[in-house]
Symmetry: C2
Subunit: 104 residues, 2 copies
């Protein structure tokens, strides 16, 4: 049976390739148009943050993003989210996993 | 609405903290016992790969793993999975996203 962690890993791969394959010439890269399509569709960011991120990605990616570069972006976002989560736990206790099954 | 990508990012955070909070003294770290619990429960690896990974993690983590170190492990595994996937696509075409909705 596939675990939640494995499903999350698979989703990261799937989301990248779902968008990368839109242009048949570069099925393992996100080109600029694919990036402009992926970011607003897959990430709920405020408009100004969205524009800033797209601009930075487009400046950094003359040849588009491969999966490793795309994943670096996701790692940065996830680490930032985790920091917010840990700060919240430190201040208020509890957590987003409260309703999930126990690990025992 | 939370997207699949955001849900995957959240799952990575949740899985780590679900196991890290088992020992109340270090809620933002996985200690050795928590690691020994997490790896076989969350990753479907062959026994010898599982033992090798646990041994390496335990050698590298005298003070346990924080989220960043845990995520480094997941990044490595996901990049390896993605490479297998891209090799498969290059040889055979198609993909794991074939049954998913279009991105348009």
């Amino acid at each position: 049976m596939v675990t939640d962690l494995e499903m999350a890993m698979q989703t990261l791969i799937e989301v990248f390739h779902k968008h990368a394959k839109r242009a048949k010439a570069s099925v393992h890269h996100l080109d600029r148009d694919e990036l402009k399509h992926l970011v607003p569709k897959e990430l709920s960011l405020h408009d100004d943050k969205m524009k800033e991120l797209l601009q930075r990605l487009q400046n950094d990616s003359e040849r588009g993003l491969d999966f490793k570069a795309f994943y670096s972006l996701i790692v940065g976002l996830t680490l930032a989210c985790n920091q917010c989560y840990e700060d919240h736990i430190n201040k208020h206790g509890g957590g987003i996993t409260a309703s999930k099954e126990d690990t025992s």
